[in-house]
């Protein structure tokens, strides 16, 4: 062909002049016609619309992207990204547009077949309920009869997950729900009612409305951040902070950026542009990931450690940095930073280790050890003045935080003292060998390992041999100095001694030379830019059993190099926390603390671990995590469940259901006794008359009975140990293949029932807008409004804005907003409760709390187990705090709909700062109107969702500058420093503002960073720049932890711990081996990272997104593994281990490392899941292969930063250490 032009074409075009109207240009290129645009109308109609409404996507995505929702003829038609984010300034890229294909596909759900349009209930249950209700004439009696009859109970429980949901009316549904709640509270106690809803930031009102209902009842709200294993426990350990991280625009400020276990283009899609753009500013990007992931193609360098060995890589980098930047050469910026902002100069007492005869690091030296008798002297840590060599008690440690003497002294001002970083004077002062544990050799959890002896310089202070944390760090990292004897590595090339680059190469597979180079670059960049080296870290490193050690090794890099608290530097952990910026307002609404305190807040992981009976399958002792140097015997011979109950009875961690009897009846007993509740309960517990529910979780009286799940998909997404959930919690069919613990492996303190219960829950209630695994297993499903059908608020850690959800349409069919649904439930409940329950007293046990003086309960972190000692416990010290709360059950609905009076008297409290909010309450009364009559007479109304939005905004410092200002003034009195000018005291964000445009928040003491003057948010900048202490023992960032249990685990200092060895723990085949008996195939590590085509389970059932991916369940594997197992791309495979079975298609890709498979997170049973050949049941979900394993050190409480707060500290529901056998199955699949 001659191409476009030529004589033939020209001739044809000339011919065309005669064939149609219009004028053809002389060059034959254009045709001009008159009219003929009628067809345009079609395209105009296609994009015409009646209105555009601002909303966003709630719950499960960090994006918090503001969207335009288009409505035409009352139908939601499509959505598009909003582009009106306030500018971040002239010198950097903007936030807009934010959004990804997942968000753009959301409106499909509105009218999709998966939409829940009517209330549903399990058919057999409804039949029995109607019959009993008609016969008995009382809903509560009917519910009591059905759940009290084992046969009837079994009938509907065993039907869970097998269809049979029938339509019911809202009135009938709420009546059943109310009856279940009333019956449970009356019979078993309010703490047998539980609620689960995660991530409040992404729809604060929807979260708060349900949480408020549950909390006002005295029910238990379950944590999610730790349960999701998204909580980096290293953060409370090191920073005394839940998690605080930079916004994504601050990535632009980084000069050196590492993406470590975080796949930003996939999981932080709307923010990834900052990473790609910053490269044009000269930023170097290093990706650390075992697979060739999407981020890798943006990287200048790629390091691919074996999964779970990131800690070794980080330790080796730390080794290089300590040697080259602290010993061989001292970088002034680093030295100055660590002296002011870390615990490195603080003195640690050494203790003689009985077995080895060497010394081991023990506890921080405190003012009490110096004989000082000031207030809380045991919580004032000590350092040495480099000039005088004398011990000094600097300001800022925990001892200064709460008492009157500390007023004005809780700050990081060293007052002219130059702390000695090391006791090594270079002149041959005295030294002593310390024994340090190593876990890199072999054994169950990387336990049963070696001990290294290395000398540290030592000095006697007040009769104690002491050294500095810095000296211990050098010993731990194997950074020798000339005059110190010990087993030091010969050089970087010493592959045997931890923690050299060559040593890590043996473990991670990453070339030693590359590690040395990256470590040097990272630190060198931080030195030259004063802290602008950043590590974005994610679930790839954070979902392991030993993630806290991995993170501590990684955070050591950013902390040693002075990057924390600097714009463009430090850690950037984006795993699920999704910052609720107006945190104070939300928390007080959600937990009903305007009406009654304290609320019941439970560590989710422990709750599920006990009540799904996963503890019964622990065939190992807790001391597999113990250090070879453990000498206190804290874990020896104990089951994890024992430690859990110990933690609960000492008041370390919360435990709900709490006691083995109804807390309402317990309150009656207390009242009858005429005693104070605390001593009464403590005495009864000591005598054994009163037991803890967690010591007998399988006794029917201690089961959770009612569980409400909203804004969540527990059973399709987060339920690690899915098959155990189905079997034991729900009484449905599960595919558990594991064996229960043998008698010698069972817990000593927890009662063992020969027959494990199946079906603990009486009622599983879920509220959702789409059918999920959770709704399919629920007894009652309430149809929820979508995110385009309600008023709410959204914020995130990724950007500094608060913006609105607004209804584009009214909730269609019989759907209701979560707010309206819970109010309907509360009204039905109150009507029944008025007569059945009335006004009751409730004994509430709460653990020792973070950011309160409870942190003083256990000086030096010494375990104080009253039961072991045989003493009567003291509530608030070695026992939970006991409070009696009055509950007017007939008035729950009224209280929900009004702002309660406790705000006037107690104010609001966040992170230890209390705010007076009378002016805000008064203003809310005028904005929302006040209630007339009833218990809430005269109080500001919260009758509408918008009212609650206003309350959240008005009561939070970030959105109400007046409060932020007040908080900084309060804080300033404690620190004795000034925070003037940080808060914009005139800023007052209303809901209408957030509907108009995303609004930037103001700097507030609720968070640790500053947005003042349009600055990009980065965590801890207030600490660094305003000398405000971290909320830790020393008031500084901690490398060293001195709690008893931490020492027992050998984790006082950053350390490398390998992934758990499932062969040793559970007898699973080793990685690379063939399958277990009877199952051919190959054994591989089983990881469940987040995918490109979904946000958790959401969008995996969305036709638009299914079209973009392969669709249906799939497992990614390497060609080598696939070849060995005879698997070809797209074959049906089964993955099987003791926890269950999954059926999926194989995706064979070179991107995958050998020995590891990925089953992307939360692929549900609702799309294309066939039956398994092995179980004969429907082929499972990603969590069918996982289970919970609790790390004992996460249960520590009651000591400085290691104290409980909701979603701040608790055992993680990790799942990455798991292995599976993967095999090719028959390609004929059956549904």
């Amino acid at each position: 062909m001659a191409g476009m032009d030529g004589p033939v074409n020209d001739a044809l075009l000339r011919l065309g002049r005669h064939l149609r109207a219009g004028t053809v240009s002389d060059d034959l290129r254009t045709l001009h016609q008159i009219g003929g645009r009628q067809a345009d109308a079609f395209y105009r109609d296609r994009w015409s619309h009646d209105k555009v409404v601002r909303s966003t996507h709630g719950v499960n995505c960090t994006g918090s992207c503001s969207w335009k929702v288009y409505v035409k003829d009352g139908i939601i038609t499509w959505e598009a990204q909003q582009t009106d984010y306030p500018s971040v300034g002239p010198d950097r890229p903007e936030y807009e547009p934010r959004g990804c294909p997942r968000g753009a596909a959301f409106s499909w759900y509105t009218y999709s077949p998966t939409r829940v349009r009517f209330p549903y209930a399990r058919g057999v249950l409804v039949e029995m309920y109607r019959e009993a209700r008609a016969r008995l004439g009382d809903p509560v009696a009917a519910w009591a009869e059905i759940t009290g009859d084992p046969d009837k109970r079994r009938r509907y429980q065993s039907a869970r997950g097998k269809g049979g949901l029938v339509r019911v009316t809202w009135d009938e549904a709420t009546e059943m729900i109310a009856a279940a709640h009333v019956h449970t509270i009356k019979t078993y106690g309010p703490d047998r009612v539980a609620g689960f809803s995660p991530i409040p930031a992404m729809s604060m009102v929807s979260h708060a409305s349900g949480a408020r209902f549950v909390s006002l009842l005295g029910g238990t709200m379950l944590s999610f951040y730790d349960w999701y294993a998204d909580l980096p426990v290293a953060s409370p350990q090191m920073f005394g902070d839940q998690t605080d991280v930079p916004e994504s625009a601050d990535w632009w400020d980084a000069a050196y950026l590492m993406l470590w276990g975080s796949n930003v283009p996939v999981t932080r899609t709307p923010d990834a542009h900052y990473m790609t753009e910053a490269r044009y500013r000269g930023q170097k990007v290093v990706v650390v990931a075992p697979d060739y992931n999407d981020a890798t193609k943006f990287a200048d360098e790629w390091m691919a450690p074996h999964p779970g060995t990131d800690g070794a890589l980080a330790m080796a980098m730390g080794h290089v940095i300590l040697r080259e930047f602290f010993v061989e050469r001292r970088v002034p910026y680093f030295t100055d930073y660590v002296k002011r902002h870390t615990d490195l100069p603080f003195l640690v007492r050494l203790r003689e280790h009985p077995e080895t005869g060497a010394y081991v690091p023990d506890k921080f030296l405190t003012a009490a050890d110096l004989g000082e008798e000031s207030e809380q002297a045991a919580f004032k840590t000590v350092l040495l003045d480099a000039a005088t060599g004398e011990p000094v008690v600097p300001n800022g440690s925990l001892g200064f935080r709460y008492g009157p003497e500390g007023e004005g002294r809780w700050n990081l001002d060293l007052q002219g003292v130059d702390p000695a970083l090391t006791l090594d004077d270079g002149e041959g002062g005295s030294t002593t060998a310390v024994a340090l544990p190593r876990f890199d050799q072999d054994g169950a959890s990387g336990g049963a390992d070696g001990v290294i002896l290395r000398d540290v310089p030592v000095r006697q202070v007040a009769g104690h041999p002491v050294t500095t944390v810095f000296d211990l760090m050098l010993a731990q990292y194997g950074v020798g100095r000339e005059n110190l004897p010990g087993q030091w590595p010969a050089s970087y090339d010493d592959a045997q001694a931890p923690y050299t680059p060559a040593w890590q190469e043996r473990i991670t597979g990453v070339p030693a030379a590359q590690v040395v180079r990256i470590a040097r670059e990272f630190a060198r960049n931080a030195e030259e830019s004063h802290g602008r080296s950043m590590i974005i870290m994610g679930a790839g490193t954070n979902h392991w059993f030993h993630s806290d050690t991995i993170y501590r090794a990684m955070l050591a890099l950013t902390t040693l190099t002075g990057c924390q608290g600097v714009n463009g530097g430090g850690w950037a952990h984006y795993v699920g926390q999704e910052k609720c910026r107006p945190v104070t307002g939300w928390a007080h609404m959600a937990f009903g603390t305007d009406w009654s305190r304290p609320p019941r807040q439970m560590i989710g992981t422990a709750f599920w671990y006990l009540h799904t009976d996963q503890w019964r399958y622990d065939t190992y002792s807790a001391d597999v995590v113990a250090s070879p140097l453990a000498s206190r015997g804290a874990f020896a011979g104990k089951a994890t469940a024992d430690l859990l109950s110990q933690s609960a009875r000492m008041g370390w961690m919360p435990s709900y259901p709490t006691f083995n009897r109804n807390s309402l009846e317990l309150a009656d007993e207390v009242a009858a006794s005429g005693q104070e509740a605390g001593p009464y309960v403590a005495a009864k517990a000591a005598s054994g008359e009163l037991g803890f529910a967690c010591e007998d979780p399988d006794a029917p009286a201690n089961w959770p009975r009612v569980l409400t799940v909203w804004r969540a998909n527990l059973l399709g997404s987060s339920a690690k140990g899915n098959e155990y959930f189905l079997k034991h919690l729900l009484g449905a069919e599960g595919a558990v293949r594991a064996h229960e613990a043998a008698p010698e492996q069972r817990p000593a303190d927890v009662t063992w029932h020969e027959q494990a219960p199946q079906g603990k829950l009486d009622l599983l209630l879920s509220l959702d807008f789409r059918m999920t695994s959770t709704t399919l297993f629920s007894d009652i499903v309430l149809p929820a409004a979508t995110w385009y059908e309600k008023h709410d608020l959204s914020s995130t850690d990724m950007h500094p804005f608060v913006h609105a959800f607004s209804p584009a349409i009214d909730p269609p069919w019989q759907t209701r907003t979560d707010f309206a649904a819970f109010h309907a439930v509360a009204k039905a409940f109150s009507a029944l409760a008025k007569t059945h329950l009335g006004v009751r007293k409730d004994v509430v046990a709460v653990p020792l709390l973070h950011d309160t003086p409870d942190e003083y309960a256990n000086p030096h972190g010494v375990v104080d187990d009253w039961r072991a000692a045989g003493t009567v416990p003291v509530p608030g010290r070695n026992f939970p705090k006991i409070t009696v709360v009055e509950r007017d059950y007939g008035a729950i609905a009224e209280k929900m709909a009004a702002l309660g009076p406790l705000l006037d008297t107690l104010g609001t409290t966040t992170k230890g700062l209390t705010y007076q909010v009378t002016a805000e309450v008064e203003r809310l009364g005028r904005m929302n109107g006040t209630v007339r009559g009833g218990v809430a007479d005269g109080r500001p109304s919260l009758a509408r969702d918008v009212d609650m939005c206003e309350a959240i905004l008005a009561l939070s410092g970030t959105t109400n500058g007046h409060l932020a200002d007040q908080g900084f003034a309060t804080l300033g009195r404690r620190t004795g420093t000034s925070f003037d000018g940080l808060a914009d005291s005139h800023k007052q964000i209303t809901f209408a503002d957030t509907q108009a445009r995303p609004v930037p928040v103001t700097t507030s003491p609720e968070w640790s960073g500053s947005e003042t003057g349009g600055r990009r948010y980065s965590a801890f900048t207030i600490n660094v720049e305003h000398r405000k202490p971290w909320h830790t023992l020393t008031g500084r960032q901690h490398f060293f932890l001195d709690h008893d249990w931490i020492h027992e685990a050998g984790e006082a200092l950053p350390v490398y711990r390998p992934p758990l060895n499932m062969t040793v723990l559970f007898g699973e085949p080793g990685i690379g081996e063939g399958g277990e008996q009877g199952v051919d195939g190959i054994t591989v590590r089983y990881l469940t990272p987040h995918s490109k085509w979904s946000i958790h389970s959401e969008y995996q059932d969305n036709l638009l997104m299914l079209t973009l991916s392969r669709g249906g369940p799939n497992i990614w594997m390497s060609p080598a593994d696939a070849g060995r197992a005879g698997i070809r791309d797209n074959d049906w495979v089964e993955a099987v281990n003791r926890n269950g079975v999954v059926v999926a298609r194989a995706i064979v890709s070179h991107r995958m490392p050998t020995g590891t498979v990925y089953m992307y997170h939360a692929q549900e049973r609702v799309v294309d899941v066939p039956k398994s050949e092995i179980s004969g049941k429907r082929g499972g979900i990603h969590n069918s292969l996982t289970r919970l394993m609790i790390k004992p050190t996460h249960l520590i409480g009651g000591y400085a930063q290691l104290s409980f707060a909701f979603n701040y500290l608790g055992p993680t529901g990790n799942q990455r250490d798991e292995v599976t056998v993967i095999r090719r199955r028959s390609q004929e699949v059956d549904y």
């Binding site: 075009l13 011919l15 254009t30 009219g35 345009d40």
Partner: protein, 244 residues
Amino acid sequence: MNALDVLLWVVAPYVALTVFVLGHVWRYRYDKFGWTTRSSQMYESRLLRIGSPLFHFGILVVALGHIGGLVIPKSWTEAAGISEEAYHLVAVVLGTIAGVATLGGIAILIYRRRTVGPVFTATTRNDKLMYAVLAVTIVLGLVATVMANIVGGGYDYRTTISPWFRSIFYFQPDPALMAGAPLLFQLHALSALLLFAIWPFTRLVHMLTAPVGYLTRPYVVYRSRDEQRAGTRAPRRGWEPTSR
């Protein structure tokens, strides 16, 4: 002449043609944006590149041959001095070549459609029916020609089938002409009628909108706005422009 003959050669043709015409009108009005070939080139192009031109150019020649044979009366060609033998020779040679090309083309296309996964996945039941009827019609036509002319002694359809075909359009249908034709020709005609009847409801509609206009059209087209109004949609009542 019995009732069956009337049904087959009078009623059926009119029904088929009516459905063909009205069906297209209906389809154009009701499903304008579904008026498409539903091309599968995106899924597979190697076989398509051979099969599609083979089929389409073949069927074009076949169609021209049918017009020549059915529409032009024998008397006209004879008047033009073309002998029956000469006409027959040309028709059989050209027809067989074109027929074999068409058959080969559709065989490749059907093979491709069945064996290439993504193409088969994109195949509807409607497509399957259409392919069956189309293939049967082509095969019957070819077999009838071969049987009559190459194996047999030749059959002059221009004295029977062609006048019958024309008689339909004169609205003076003569079923007797067709009733006497050989069975294979009858079957071919019937399957063709069925093909025309389902035509408007299949992807075959693309025949009517083959984009031949592009051959002679400049590729940049400007259409002026209607001067009467700002938009292209008639203003609703109460929203008419107040001046101009």
